[in-house]
């Protein structure tokens, strides 16, 4: 047994492979993105035949894994919490159909949120779909729960959700592990159309079966002391007890053991749904008050039969938004202890730090596109040429185009296109010719751009669509896209050129341009815009193609140069506001804008940005 420091997502990968998971699909999304790469690393290390794929979106991932599972194999799909929204249609139905082989859905939550549109709670999705959910507190437990999830799934013939939160996914923990073996189960799909292609009449029967499964699993969860347990001493009564699960459990455990507070019992619910109601009732009976600490919403709180004793989000005791960080939990416990008239925790008071910092104007650190990012060049040209347009955008690094004034909306995956057509029709109805420029990344376009584009073409919308093709899924950690023709494990796949997809969606105007060439990009945008207003025109698509500067440094900037700022600089701030490259800064000593050599990527796009021509390349005449 060797010991290794695993990322939480690596611990999950380890658990999946230890469980003999044979097929794993995923669409990258923080904080879930590293599960599949970790599977691939371990699979290569151990020579396993596990099938892996980056699917084009989460619904696709779920459907693929579901099919494998109903052949009797063990299968899993991984995604982030908002990805499960995309896959919700499949999930709800898969719950009714059930499974033969183990089928585990991993949906990673992002309390905070650190890198998501919402703080939604996957446990509620499990409740809506009527499937069991497991809620790990740390990487080691996530690994064990991955195995448990397969056991439950196979025993009861039901999909099981594993919900790790970001502090599990992106925690690191030292874990011992040993050899992994291939699972030899063979695919055998037994035809049964009444089940696998059930019509509404049979769905009623399946629903009845599903409800019975849930009752049976609830009985199991009442007794499943590896994940649902408490530490009450026999016969004792307590002024305050805590019910918790997931990451808050780990924090509560740490606080109470550090403070040696064995007078506060804890009920951990690592398997909160279907709800082990009797276990919770027994715990509550022996407490005068009960504090519920869970992320990110109120699943346990809602499911508690009697809330008279309960302090939680519904009673205003627990913050309703944001991550339950250790300080927030300590503060909440202290308030509860105070209301119970019990001795408070002796936690350090760091309140005076806030006062100290009030006098220091700490720089606001907003996320920014990297130096050399081709999206920055695209956004600069878009804003410069089409200042009056509505800029619809999408999910990815390029959402940060909002720093350059080139992103007005960001709703969900694919909405750059669907909102562009929505805006078009809303203005068209009033007879207003509103320019609209939509921006979407290559991976996001493959994920959910095509349906919206087909719809927009079909219904006669008019707008410019810029596909920001950096040939990678960058924000989530550099996963390949279908456009590239490289599969998840690095092997060769079939490349699907964006051009062909765009043409296939019925687009007549298509230009491909390198956004580093500001002039060419501006001219392409001008022609595109003209096409959208031409009576015989339509939607115009510009593919702004330049490789991501992080994923393909050499390919992106083969010959880096050293731009510098001359005394012609009048400190107008245009470059910093409109181009917003992190390497540009105002140097008080020099008295004008300068370039930070350490940060500069050498792309030299800024040379074309300065209205005074004050940015030049060292050694070159102006």
């Amino acid at each position: 047994m060797k010991e290794e420091i695993f990322l939480g997502n690596g611990a999950i990968a380890l658990g999946l492979l230890e469980a003999g998971c044979q097929l794993i699909t995923s669409y990258p999304g923080t904080p879930s993105s590293e599960i599949l790469p970790e599977i691939i690393r371990l699979k290569k290390l151990q020579g396993l035949n596990t099938y892996v794929e980056w699917s084009t979106n989460e619904k696709v991932a779920l459907d693929n894994a579901f099919a494998a599972a109903i052949t009797g194999k063990r299968a899993c799909c991984c995604m982030k919490q908002v990805g499960l929204n995309v896959a919700a249609d499949s999930l709800m139905s898969a719950a009714y159909l059930g499974t033969k082989g183990g089928f585990v859905i991993i949906s990673a939550d992002d309390p905070g949120p650190h890198s998501s549109q919402t703080e939604q709670d996957t446990r509620f999705m499990a409740r809506i779909a009527k499937v069991p959910v497991l809620d790990p507190s740390d990487p080691g437990e996530a690994r064990e729960m991955a195995k448990l999830a397969f056991e439950i799934s196979e025993k009861f013939g039901i999909p099981v959700i594993l919900r790790p939160a970001i502090r599990v996914c992106h925690a690191r923990q030292s874990l011992k592990w040993g050899e992994l073996k291939n699972n030899e189960a063979k695919a055998l799909f037994e035809k049964n159309p009444q089940r696998w292609a059930a019509t509404p009449r049979f769905r009623l029967i399946l629903h009845r079966e599903l409800n019975q499964k849930l009752r049976d699993i609830a009985t199991l969860f009442e007794e499943l002391s590896s994940v649902n347990f408490h530490d009450m001493k026999e016969g004792s009564q307590y002024p305050l007890g805590i019910i918790c699960g997931g990451v808050p459990y780990a924090v509560v455990r740490d606080i109470l053991s550090e403070e040696r507070r064995d007078d506060i019992p804890v009920l951990k619910l690592g398997a909160p749904y279907p709800f082990p109601g009797a276990l919770a009732d027994q715990f509550m009976e022996r407490c005068r008050k009960v504090l519920v600490l869970e992320e990110t919403d109120t699943l346990i709180e809602y499911l508690l039969g009697n809330r008279v004793k309960v302090m939680g989000r519904l009673s205003g005791h627990v913050p309703q938004e944001g991550e339950l960080v250790p300080e927030a939990i300590a503060k909440t416990i202290n308030r509860a202890l105070q209301e119970c008239g019990t001795k408070p925790l002796d936690v350090p008071d760091t309140g005076d730090v806030g006062g100290l910092l009030k006098d220091i104007s700490l720089p606001v650190r907003k996320p920014t596109l990297c130096p050399g990012c081709p999206h920055r060049a695209s956004f600069f040209s878009i804003r410069k040429g089409r200042a009056k347009a509505i800029f619809t955008s999408d999910i990815g690094c390029y959402t940060l185009g909002l720093n350059l004034g080139s992103v007005d909306t960001c709703l969900d995956m694919g909405a750059a296109i669907t909102m562009a057509s929505g805006f078009y029709h809303a203005y068209k109805q009033d007879g207003v010719k509103q320019p609209i420029v939509a921006t979407i990344g290559d991976s996001t376009f493959f994920h959910s751009g095509t349906a919206g584009l087909l719809n927009a073409v079909y219904n006669g919308a008019r707008f410019v669509l810029v596909i920001l093709d950096n040939q990678i899924t960058a924000m989530t950690g550099m996963q390949p896209t279908p456009g590239l023709g490289i599969k998840a494990d690095g092997s060769k796949g079939v490349a699907i050129p964006l051009e062909r997809v765009v043409k296939g969606c019925g687009i007549e105007f298509l230009e491909v341009v390198d956004p580093y060439d500001l002039k060419a990009m501006s001219q392409a945008l001008k022609r595109a815009s003209a096409h959208t207003f031409d009576p015989a025109g339509g939607i115009a698509v510009v593919i702004a193609r330049h490789p991501c500067v992080i994923a393909y440094r050499k390919k992106s900037i083969p010959n880096p140069v050293k731009p510098l700022v001359t005394d012609d600089c009048v400190s107008c701030g245009f470059c910093m506001e409109r181009f917003e490259c992190p390497a540009l800064f105002r140097d008080e000593k020099v008295g004008h804008t300068m370039i930070n050599e350490v940060l500069c990527s050498g792309c030299a796009v800024c040379v074309g940005v300065c209205p005074k021509g004050a940015i030049v390349i060292a050694g070159e005449d102006k």
Partner: protein, 187 residues
């Protein structure tokens, strides 16, 4: 042993994750249980990056406020932002290019709380070695020269850097680490 809590902070791209990895691998080699928390995704793009590392018996990955024995900051502004992590008697190690960290109010605060503060221009040290991007290793070298950094040691951290560095960076990483160490010794 009591849990050793370490917070590392700075900006995206400064190499916080690599620094964290070195400290974590060091602890693993010493047989100490390791638990930590990292920043990924949107938050990584040029924003503040904080890494938490807990060595010992901790169950949750975040270092609570007021509990960090060590705060290592690659950026002085981020050091200010991380002050609330500091425990009584903690050690603060900051890359301060302008040498103006900390301000007077913070100095007083640190004296009251027994915090020992050490600063170096780690970027300059790395730059002198021809690798301005290795500021993280220069600061770690500087840290390794400071008193009372148990369970860490200069030799042990150097060894770990040798182990975890990719082949083509091993030599330069160690060179920068040693340069940071020498700078600290001179103080």
């Amino acid at each position: 042993m009591n849990t050793v809590n370490i917070v590392l902070c700075g900006l995206g791209g400064q190499g916080i994750l690599f620094m964290t990895k070195i400290l974590a691998e060091y602890a693993l080699k010493k047989g100490i249980p390791v638990l930590g928390a990292e920043t990924h995704g949107m938050a990584q793009r040029g924003g503040s990056v904080v890494s938490h590392l807990r060595l010992g018996e901790a169950r949750s990955s975040l270092v609570p406020a007021g509990k960090a024995g060590f705060l290592i900051a690659l950026d002085p502004w981020e050091a200010y932002r991380g002050l609330s992590f500091l425990a009584e008697g903690a050690l603060l190690c900051v890359n301060s290019p302008d040498g103006d960290f900390p301000n007077d109010a913070v100095k007083t605060y640190m004296t009251t709380h027994g915090v020992k503060c050490f600063t170096a221009d780690a970027g300059k040290i790395a730059g002198r070695m021809g690798t301005p991007l290795s500021t993280n290793l220069a600061l770690l070298g500087f840290f390794s020269s400071l008193p009372d950094i148990s369970p860490f040691s200069h030799e042990g951290l150097g060894e770990t850097i040798g182990l975890v560095s990719p082949d083509r960076f091993r030599e330069v990483n160690l060179k920068v680490f040693e340069a940071g160490f020498e700078e600290g010794k001179r103080l």
